[in-house]
Subunit: 345 residues, 4 copies
Amino acid sequence: MIRVGILGATGTVGQRFLQLLERHPDFVVSAVAASDRSEEKPYVEACQWRLPGDFPESVRALRVRPCEPPLDCDVVFSSLPYPVITNSSSFRMDADVPLVIPEVNPEHLALIDLQRQRTKGGGYIVTNPNCSAVMVALALAPLHRRFGVTSVVVTTMQALSGAGYPGVPSLDATDNVIPYIAEEEAKIERETKKLLGTYADGAVRTADVAVSAQCHRVNVTDGHLGAFRVKLERRATLAELRDAWATFRGLPQQLELPSAPTHPIVVRDEPDRPQPRLDRDAGNGMSVSVGRVAPDTVLDWRFVALSHNTIRGAAGAAILNAELLLAQGRLLQPPRAVERAPARG
Amino acid sequence: MIRVGILGATGTVGQRFLQLLERHPDFVVSAVAASDRSEEKPYVEACQWRLPGDFPESVRALRVRPCEPPLDCDVVFSSLPYPVITNSSSFRMDADVPLVIPEVNPEHLALIDLQRQRTKGGGYIVTNPNCSAVMVALALAPLHRRFGVTSVVVTTMQALSGAGYPGVPSLDATDNVIPYIAEEEAKIERETKKLLGTYADGAVRTADVAVSAQCHRVNVTDGHLGAFRVKLERRATLAELRDAWATFRGLPQQLELPSAPTHPIVVRDEPDRPQPRLDRDAGNGMSVSVGRVAPDTVLDWRFVALSHNTIRGAAGAAILNAELLLAQGRLLQPPRAVERAPARG
Amino acid sequence: MIRVGILGATGTVGQRFLQLLERHPDFVVSAVAASDRSEEKPYVEACQWRLPGDFPESVRALRVRPCEPPLDCDVVFSSLPYPVITNSSSFRMDADVPLVIPEVNPEHLALIDLQRQRTKGGGYIVTNPNCSAVMVALALAPLHRRFGVTSVVVTTMQALSGAGYPGVPSLDATDNVIPYIAEEEAKIERETKKLLGTYADGAVRTADVAVSAQCHRVNVTDGHLGAFRVKLERRATLAELRDAWATFRGLPQQLELPSAPTHPIVVRDEPDRPQPRLDRDAGNGMSVSVGRVAPDTVLDWRFVALSHNTIRGAAGAAILNAELLLAQGRLLQPPRAVERAPARG
Amino acid sequence: MIRVGILGATGTVGQRFLQLLERHPDFVVSAVAASDRSEEKPYVEACQWRLPGDFPESVRALRVRPCEPPLDCDVVFSSLPYPVITNSSSFRMDADVPLVIPEVNPEHLALIDLQRQRTKGGGYIVTNPNCSAVMVALALAPLHRRFGVTSVVVTTMQALSGAGYPGVPSLDATDNVIPYIAEEEAKIERETKKLLGTYADGAVRTADVAVSAQCHRVNVTDGHLGAFRVKLERRATLAELRDAWATFRGLPQQLELPSAPTHPIVVRDEPDRPQPRLDRDAGNGMSVSVGRVAPDTVLDWRFVALSHNTIRGAAGAAILNAELLLAQGRLLQPPRAVERAPARG
């Protein structure tokens, strides 16, 4: 079993990590870290559990550590700006840092070798994208591969849990829409281009796609919805689009990674789907649902996509990245792992 | 005082009509009509009042009539497919029927003359637009006048009251977004073109604007929000856009019609406005609020607009049309009114 | 495997039945019945699936039948007034009809023998209670057994799904509480007395408990919450109350019935629990959560209880009753089952 | 005009004060005070306006002062623990501090004389009650006067605005009920007894009423709802109860104070009223609505009451108290007011 440390373990994304890793076939949580205030308490006392479902018993008694080395683990999942496999936005756009969705751009992980050359050690950073960028890039990837996407206009309706806890005040959420999420539009625009970019000769070339994002917070607990228009390089029929999504598979499906959904994209044909409450848990929260596909009057096509923001968009995204790194032998390089262990002593 | 009849008087839009007309300087409600089930009951018994605020006392005892002539009134406001001033979508796109927002295209009312020639009588139909089309056309009109709009991509987040009562089941609304409103996208696309069109020689020529609409129902009681991207014929600066909206005035403002808002468009500069709960009542529900104006990465500009869907989008739209017709002397042509009266006897 | 028919299979409770029975160890759905409108369509077409989670594949192609014999099954679960194991309120208070919560009053099932004598056949009716009465009776049963309950004052805050689909209009639910649910208060008051009653000599004597219920609909999808005050016959300490709930077990736990929760009552010690969103799925929706236990200033004790209204309160209640009848050999009397079979031919 | 200072002017209750006082016939806001962070900014910059409706223009340019003397005003309204007319709970239960609802117990204001004797100055403290206690005491007062209330069991469903801003996280509010509001139950229980108490010989004797309160936070923006059971000393009929409420008038109605509602209690006869969204603005938010009156099975009577928590329950409560003090000549004692003025210079 690979021993995992969670940074920011008491927050909403941290709690999702613990929930998704309870009973995982390969990973066991051996360390939880959070800010000073919670330090040295047993996790059960430090954490105000906010998710439906039971508290994860296996971590009840773990002492909460500060978010710094040494931590008693082989790999770290982080929602803090701590370099390893991280949700943090700090490093995503760095030239030698891979920003990866395993189904979309696993070849970008080759950037790890550059990092290692530079740092001369075994450590490296892999980042997973902004929760909305995951949805955008996953929904576009099958179209981009087959038809080439030249422009995308996406309008998001994002869930409350994306703002963490306490996050959005209920007086702002109830009977309301907030047409603003700080820095979100820029993140979606630049990360989508990197995710759809190509790797060659030690560098990622961002995709030549114009991306326009407008972001809104709506009164939904979980599940980000996006309304899309896209312009394609090559002509396509509705049946071809549908087929591109429905048959889309990536490396995680090929390797049968434990958290990989069978269908990365689920196509819905009902006129009123996908909906957050009904579809966010598709593929255990790891599938993106696509529906309402139709010709558009300004660009070429329009459709709607939905993704679970704290699973596929955060905790699940990091776990799937880790599973891929493990399967590729990049996670635990036996000699270095041994070397690192004493340093923690 | 002009005596007004309300068709569909017991529904949500009908109730808004009564609320807005209570204490109106020119109009008094003299007849309420609704479907067979309510007929002949006093209005207070026939109607399940669903709006905040008091029941309008002046109509308490009015007997509910069937929705057909004769009705004891000079003009009819209708949310039913009854030809006069109507919210109904049935006639909006007819060649000789004016579809009018008084600030946007009052000159289209000239089509009334064609109708009268055809019908050889004093009766005619004037329609007001779909509740979202009102917002779209009003938000675009100042830009179209000054810079020319060639394309618009709008994604709506529409309120529950737009579906009437009982309307959307709460199980669909709570913790959810529904990416579908029957026929709404097509209505917005075609009505916007007619509203921005030009009148000449007895006909309206629809505007040469590509319109793309995607519509969503969100968990908000009142207030439709739209996220817009637009492409303009002429270059503009942000300051010029802002100025076009802020200084926009129309015939209702010039004529100082009773229900005309001082500012048809209110520009908000805060980063997180407009919001439905905070801004839907701007200008007594008759102003459209615009915010988050910024350059766009696919089209030219992006912004967000908000409008009260049952006031500016329905009941208030019809009343403002009536006020304009009255001011123009088109509502009550004394001789014909007299002629019509005996027919009702 | 016992073959099960579902009456009212296309409604919200019917859908819960199908979801809970998918992959059940003893029961397989062999017939679905609903109103005339859906008849003879495949279930997948007749039903608008409204629950999160996948459509139950095993019933996709089953033709929807009318709600009348013969149905191709051994036992029927019903949310319609069809005599077998039913959620319907029609027969609950009949003298020879058992109204049963398996943990609370399994001995009332002896009434079946009276029914059989009367009908001279193998058929009989078993009813499960109103969704709120289940919560009230389960929360009170441990106290009643040990200390005797003489009065209970309960104020409910009930979920939207309790009203079925389309049910409560969203305009009534959003930003609102509705202090009225038709007939609900009377149902809770009389059913609680029967559920806590004693069986002797072929009759149920209702419990001598004064029950006062006030019911409200709140903006929650699933999970009924009740605020309780109780008066007890015998003095108790807070620790004794807590213990009575925490150690409470019934026949289903003893018999290890498939749907029986390990803990019928889960006691929460946090100051702000139970909450619908966090606790409704306790024990797979079959446990009642109790919290905020404290001395009361008018009666003796106060507390709050929560129960999943469509699982423990409806579909799960019927299934647990069926599991108990099966375990007792009352469900499938081999000779009679054989006799009935030809009649279906 | 009396010049008014508002302490805590940037919070939700502070904003209500400014909204309610805009265009008041007697009071004009001359000073706004808030915590250090906002100090010395113009109010328009210091305040994030959170209420529907326009920003109150008259206070736009007022500089925000620290919450301490001297303030440029004759009287202070406070939601902070500053001694004058205050919503703060700090002094409410002090023996010589009047806790007053003008319709219920205006005679308690005689305690002011005791305070003045003690402080030997013109200053004094008047408090208004907890937002739920206002509703409870107002709903009970007519019954207590006429029939004597001996016990009351109230279960509240309280609005989000009662928790201030940012207040309740939206993840806790959406699809949920929180059965806990810190210290609220104790406040209601003790304040109700003082409010219904009698004044004699320089002291208030608390009423001999047993009060039991259970409090819940529900997903409603404004309007606290309470479900009541009461036990009365004297027998009453339903018609007599109804009459006691409907005919109830107090000193504010007699004196025709500007903010006094014509009907302190509005009785609703529909089976499903009062509801927060429909009834919270009754009497401009100053009336309590009562409905669902019926005999109870444990105590004598049950009913439901509703009150606007930031108007009648906070800002409006303080303003009505000030209007009463002004009418009684207690607010502005000319000589002392003059004396105080130079100190401010």
